[in-house]
């Protein structure tokens, strides 16, 4: 698989986006998935950050979707690892 960069996004770029990044990093490590890098950012700078996909809260989609041209995956519950894992796996499967 080619290198894939996931950007997690929240309002200030250091709270919930960082939280979600950690969850994704954990899942990537646990499943031994290779070629994934993650970074977090805020709703303003994410527009200028190059990435292949954005993971964020549904509430933030409106603020960013018109400004970016990568897919946006939304996650309602950041504490639910299974939910985060499913979202990630579904996205990766769709790329195959």
């Amino acid at each position: 698989m080619k290198e894939l960069k996931i950007l997690t996004v929240c309002g200030v770029g250091m709270g919930s986006s960082q939280f979600l990044k950690m969850q994704i990093d954990d899942i990537v490590k646990k499943n031994g998935i290779e070629g994934i890098t993650t970074e977090c950012g805020d709703v303003i700078t994410c527009v200028a950050t190059s990435c292949d996909v954005i993971f964020t809260q549904p509430q933030l989609v409106e603020s960013i979707q018109s400004k970016v041209n990568v897919p946006i995956v939304t996650i309602t519950n950041y504490t639910n690892k299974k939910m985060v894992e499913e979202a990630l796996m579904n996205f990766l499967d769709a790329l195959k």
């Binding site: 919930s16 939280f19 299974k82």
Partner: protein, 143 residues
């Protein structure tokens, strides 16, 4: 030792709305001199500007803002409400507000790592069932 000091855990509180809830959750940190009042208002402004994305799980909000010289110490505070407040999002109604304050990015990462490890489904459920600060402290400290 838990990641939240016992004196920063509040339970059996009532909030009139989500803004009141964030203010109440941040108050112990203001009283202790860990943050200034402006940081609390900034946590509210983040939601006003960008929407209720801080409600990262059902019934649980993690309030935070970009530190602007108004965070003096890295601390977390937790408020468990007796009533519920709405942020107008799919994870409503909210009962737990966690305030996160950190002076710089490095400390912030450490705090977040601990929080992310701690806040799994099981702990979140347990938190919501607590009836006093002692119980909540134990859930957060030994989960």
């Amino acid at each position: 030792m838990g990641i939240v000091k016992k004196e920063y855990i509040q339970t059996n509180q009532i909030a009139t709305d989500w803004q009141d809830a964030i203010r109440k959750a941040g108050q112990p940190l203001v009283d202790a001199g860990a943050i200034k009042g402006s940081y609390v208002e900034n946590m509210i402004n983040v939601v006003k500007e960008l929407g209720p994305y801080i409600v990262i799980a059902p019934h649980i909000a993690v309030a935070h803002a970009r530190p602007n010289g108004d965070v003096l110490r890295d601390e977390l505070s937790v408020l468990l409400l007796d009533n519920e407040v709405n942020f107008n999002c799919s994870n409503d109604p909210v009962k737990v507000i966690i305030c996160m304050a950190s002076v710089d990015d490095d400390q912030h990462m450490e705090l977040l790592k601990k929080l992310a490890t701690l806040l799994d489904e099981e702990t979140c459920k347990k938190m919501l069932l607590c009836t006093n600060a002692e119980e909540l402290y134990r859930v957060l400290g030994y989960a």
